[in-house]
Symmetry: D2
Subunit: 342 residues, 4 copies
C-alpha cells in the first residue's frame, strides 16, 4: 500500500482525489491538511465521503508528510513551490496539481503567475505529467507537474497532427469550453449559481494562464514554436471540458486512421468513429479523453473535438494515473469506474 | 459468475444497470434486448460504455434469456407480467424494475395502471425488494418487485416512526421532489430541457401511481391502514429524490437515537447527525439513502429528510442489491463506488 | 414623475428594481448608492442595463436622498433601521425590501435577527406591504415593510382558507422551494454553481427567519395565533418560489370557488382552474402569484400550490406595486410585462 | 393597429412572438393557427399568457388569414413556401421565421433542406430580414425571410470586418454555441433535460443548414465568395447564442473604432468596450446583439464575440423589428424591454 498525503484537500481537485484514492486498492491516505479547517472531519465537509473516509483535516504544520511515499498538492498556485522541496529532499515523491512546475521558462511563469518562483531548480527536474506524451519520464520522476485541464484536452487533441507535422502550426486555434468546477471551490461572485447558470460567456480572451502551458507542450511536439489562439469559455455544467480545435492542413493524410493509430494503445484516450461528436457527459467522472476528427465540407481546415472531465483526466484522475506509473502499478489501477450517464 | 439478461436496456434504468453490472465482479451480462434497436451496439447508444460493454441489443424474440441465471426487466409497465412467467417457469430468477408486481391488491393495481393484470398468481409470490424491510424473503425469492424510486425514499424515511407506532399514521405527508431522469428517457415535451430547466412544479397531486405502493408498504409496517398525502414535484436535477416527510408525534421518544438504532447495521442507509440537511448530490451515483430527523421549534411535528439517487437506490442499484442477496453474495458487492461530488 | 432613490443597488433585488423602474413610465431614478462601488457606472456592473441606465453608484454619504419622493432600501438587514428615520423625518417615503420593519414584536425580531432594533417606534408605524391584505393602509403609508419572498407566496396561498377559518390553523405546513437568487448575490460557497446545480436540499429546518413573519401574517388573518411548520428548500433554478401548503379541513366548502372569489379583483393573483399545477416559469419575470387548490383523493387535507418570482412579486415588483399605491398611480403601472417562457 | 395572423404558434418562436406582440402597442393579433391544437385556448398551452392572450388556436383551413395585414409563419421549414403565395397574392405581407426564403440559390436550398422548393419566384422577391444590412429593402418588402439565429449572431459579428475587406475571407471560423430552445419544442430524445443538462457537445460539424445562409450573407458583404468553417454546439442554457468568430487580419485598422462606428446608429447592436466579454444573459429576453472585439496577444488573429437571445434577435424579436420597418413604425416599438438578469 502506498502511503499518501494530500496538502490542501478542501477544493474540488482535493475531494476528487479523495474519491478516487478511497476506491484505489493500493492507496492508503494517511494525512490530509488544511490550514483553515484543521480538526474538521473530512466527511463533514464532504458528506459524500461519510463512512468511507474517516480522516480529519490536519494542521499543515503538524502533519507528518515526510513519512509518506507520495504527497499530492491540491493547493492554489504558489504553495507547492514553497513546500515541495523539503519533502523531495526527504525522499518523498510529489505530484503538484497546481501550476508551479508546469512551465520550464521561469521568466514566462513569473510573468503569467505574478510571483517570483521559489525553486527554479526543481522546475527543471520536474516531469510534465501527461502520460500519453511523457510516460517513460513519469515512471522515474520524483516530482510531477500535473497538467492543467485545458492543456490536457487541447494537447491530446492536437498531438497526432502536430507531432506528424501535418498542419500549419503557426495558426492553431483552440476554442475551449469548461464546466464551472474548473474555477475551483472559491467564494467568488462570478461563479455563483445565479450568475453562471443559464448563461454562457468567454473569458480571458486577451490571455489565460493555460496558454503558455499549451504552447510549450505543442512546441515540444512540433519541434518548433507554435502560433496558438486560445479562447476559454464558461459553460453551465459542473464537470467537463470540450475543446474544439481548428488547424489548417499542410499535408494530406488519412487523419482518422492517424488518430486511431496514435492512440491505439492508450487506455484513457478513445478515438471515436468518423463523424462522431463526443459529449462531455460521456466522460463524466472517468479518466478518459474522447476525441473525434472532422474535415467539414472536405475543406482545408480540420476540426478536432476533444472532451475530458476536468476534475479527473484534467486533474485528480491524471494525478492518480501518474502515481500508478511512478510506483510501478498498472496504469489503470483504481481508474476503471464507468462514466456516469445520465 | 452470474449469467444475466436485461430486457429493455435503452432507458435510464437500463443504462444504469449496465454501468453497475459492468463493474460488478460476479456479473456476466450475456444478453440485452430491445425491440426497436436490435442489432445496435449498446455502446453506440451510450458512448459512456465504449470499451467496456461490447454487447449488441438483441431482438427479444431471439435472445436466449432462458439460459440466464437472472433476468432484469427494465421495461415499461405491463411487459414483465407478460414475459416473466415463462422465464420463471424455466427456473430463471426475475427482477422487475417496473411496477407489475409491486401492488398485492390486483384490483387496485389494475385501477392505477389501467390494464388487466396478466399473471395475478405471480403477484402473490413476488417479493417486494426493499432489503431494509424484506431482506430474508428476498434471499429466497424467485421474483422480485423492485420498488419505485419515491416509495424507496419515503418508506425508508418513515419506517422507524411507523414501525414503532410513534406517530399519527392517519395524517402522514410526503412532499417529494424528483430529478427529471425519474420520468424516463422518453421523447415527451414536458421533460425537454427548455421546459424542465430553470423551472419547478408539482404534478400528479390528485393521484400518483406511487401512492398505493407507499401506502401498502407503510400499512404493512404499521399493521394497519395509513392516511397519506403524497405530492410529487419535478426539480431540475438529473438524478436524485428528496423526500420531505411530515408526521405528528403520538408518543415521545428520542427520535434521533431511534433512527440510528434502526439503521445501525444497514450498509446503504446513513442516518445523519441531528440538525443535518442531506443533499441529493451526497448520494449521486451511489446506492445510499441518507436520512435526517428534525423536530422544528420543539413542536409536535417531526420532519424527516430522505435522499436517494433515483436511478441507483431508487432503481438499478437496489436491483443489484437484491441480486446480491438472491445469489448469496455480499450485499454490497459491486455497489461501493463513492458518490460523485461535485 | 416620482423622484426615486435606491440604497444598496448591487444585489439582485437592486438590479431587479432598476430593471422595473427603468421601464416604469412615472419613475425617475435620481440616485443609487453603494458603499463599495461608488463611482462605478451601474451598467458596468450589470451590462443588461447598458444604454438604459446611465447612473453611477454614489457614496451613501454624498447622495442627496432627502430630495427624493421615495427611497427604496435594497440593503442587508439592519441598514434601513439606521438610515430610514432621517429620511422619513425629512418627508421622504421609504420602502424597505429587507426585514427591518416586518415583525411587530420587537423582542421576536431581535431574537431572530440577532441585533438590537434601532428604531422600534417606526416598526409600529410601518405598514406591511402585502397589497392583497393591506391595500388601504399602504396607500397612506410613509414607511413600507416589503414582505419576504417566502412570506408572500405562503400568505397568499393560505389567506382564503385561514381568513375564512375553514382549516385547522394549529397544524399548517408550508413546504417551500426557492430558486438560488433568493440567497442573494453574496460570494458564499454553498450557492456556487458547482454546489447548488444538479442538487436539491432543505435548509433551516430548525428555524428560518421567515417563519415568524409568516406566522404573524397568518395570525392576523386568523385572528388568533397559528401553528406552522415551515421547511424551506433550495432548488437549482435562478428565480422562483414554489410553496406547497398543507392544511387540514375543519369545515367543508367549495374551496376552488372560494379562492376564485377572494382573488377575483386582484391583478397580480391568478387562481388556476381545478387540477392545475402552476410552474415557477409561468411567472418568471412577472409580478404575478399563481395558485392552485387540490384536495387529493377527496381526503381531509387540502394542498395549495403557490408560485411567484422571488425577485418580482417576492421583492422588487411588490415594492413597485407598493410605490404605485402610495403615489396614487394605477397599481399595475410598469408591472405588465409578460412572463418569460421558456 | 396592425391586424396580425400567426401560422403555427405552438413552438418557441410562436410563444415568443405572442409575448412580444401582446405587449406591442400597435399589434392586434387576430388569428393564430395550429393543425394539431385547434380549439385549445393559447393560454392553456402557455400559462404565462393567462389573462393577456385570449385567442384560441384555429384550424388553418378555417382561419381568415387573408384579412390580416401581416402573417408570421412560425412553422417548420417547407410550410410557408406552400401557403405564403396565396396570402401574398391577396395583398397580405408575410414574415417567414423558417428557412423557406432565405437562400437565393434554389438548388443549394433544395440540397440542404431536402425538398423541392414550391415557389422559387418568391425566393427571388423575398428580402432577407437582417435590418442592420437590408433596412431599406425591408421597408418596402412584401415577403421577409427572417434570418436564422446562428446567421444573425455570426453575420453581425463579422460584418464590419468583412464589409471593409480587412480580414482574410477565405478562412473564417465561426465557433457557435446555442441554447437548447434553438432546437425547438419538439419531443426528441437528445434535447431532453436528462440528456442536454450538465452536458456540452458539438453537432452538425460536417454540415449545418445555417452554413449556406451565413456564407451567402458574408459573400454579399465581401462582394466575393467566402471560406467559412462553422461549428455549432449545444450548451445547457435555455436561450442564447454565443458566437466566437476568428478571422486573420489582412489589413491593419483600429478594429474597436471600426465596430463602434459601423454600429453607432443601430438600436439593437451594442459594441462593448475593448477587453469585454459579453454574456448571453446580458441579452436574455431582449432584441439586442452585444459584440466585443479582441486581438489576443496582439497577434494576427481577431476574435469577435457576439451574443444574442436566439428567440428574440435570433427569431421573434427580429421579426417584429422587421414588421415595424414594413409598417413605417419606430423600429424599436414594442422591443424595449430590458434583459432579464439574473
Amino acid at each position: 500500500m502506498i502511503k499518501i498525503g494530500i496538502v490542501g484537500g478542501t477544493g474540488y481537485t482535493g475531494v476528487e482525489l479523495l474519491r478516487l484514492l478511497a476506491m484505489h486498492p493500493q492507496a492508503n491516505i494517511v494525512a490530509i491538511t488544511s490550514r483553515g479547517d484543521a480538526g474538521l472531519p473530512v466527511a463533514e465537509m464532504f458528506p459524500s465521503l461519510r463512512g468511507r473516509v474517516s480522516l480529519k483535516f490536519e494542521d499543515p504544520a503538524k502533519a507528518n508528510l515526510a513519512a509518506c511515499d507520495v504527497v499530492f498538492f491540491a493547493t492554489p498556485n504558489g504553495i507547492a513551490m514553497q513546500q515541495a522541496p523539503a519533502l523531495l529532499d526527504a525522499g518523498v515523491r510529489v505530484i503538484d496539481l497546481a501550476a508551479d512546475f508546469r512551465i520550464k521558462d521561469i521568466a514566462e511563469w513569473e510573468n503569467w503567475y505574478g510571483m517570483t518562483h521559489a525553486c527554479p531548480d526543481w522546475v527543471e527536474k520536474a516531469v510534465y505529467g501527461l502520460p500519453e506524451v511523457n510516460r517513460e519520464q513519469i515512471r522515474s520522476a520524483r516530482l510531477i507537474a500535473n497538467p492543467g485541464c485545458y492543456p490536457t484536452a487541447v494537447q491530446l487533441g492536437f498531438k497526432p497532427l502536430v507531432s506528424a507535422g501535418l498542419v500549419d502550426c503557426g495558426s492553431l486555434i483552440a476554442d475551449a469550453k469548461s464546466g464551472v468546477s474548473g474555477a475551483g471551490r472559491k467564494a467568488e461572485t462570478h461563479i455563483l449559481f445565479s450568475e453562471a447558470s443559464d448563461n454562457f460567456k468567454a473569458y480571458g480572451v486577451s490571455g489565460h494562464r493555460h496558454l503558455p502551458e499549451i504552447r510549450q507542450g505543442l512546441a515540444s511536439m512540433a519541434g518548433a514554436s507554435v502560433g496558438l489562439t486560445f479562447v476559454p469559455h464558461l459553460t453551465p455544467i459542473i464537470r467537463g471540458i470540450h475543446a474544439t480545435l481548428y488547424a489548417k492542413i499542410r499535408e494530406e493524410a488519412d487523419f482518422q486512421a492517424l488518430f486511431e493509430k496514435v492512440y491505439a494503445n492508450e487506455a484513457f484516450v478513445d478515438v471515436l468513429p468518423a463523424k462522431s461528436h463526443p459529449e462531455t457527459r460521456s466522460v463524466r467522472s472517468a479518466n478518459t479523453c474522447r476525441i473525434a476528427v472532422h474535415r467539414p465540407q472536405g475543406g482545408d481546415t480540420l476540426v478536432v473535438l476533444s472532451v475530458i472531465d476536468n476534475l479527473v483526466k484534467g486533474a485528480a484522475g491524471q494525478a492518480v494515473q501518474n502515481m500508478n506509473l511512478m510506483f510501478g502499478l498498472d496504469e489503470t489501477l483504481g481508474l476503471c469506474q464507468l462514466p456516469l450517464l445520465p
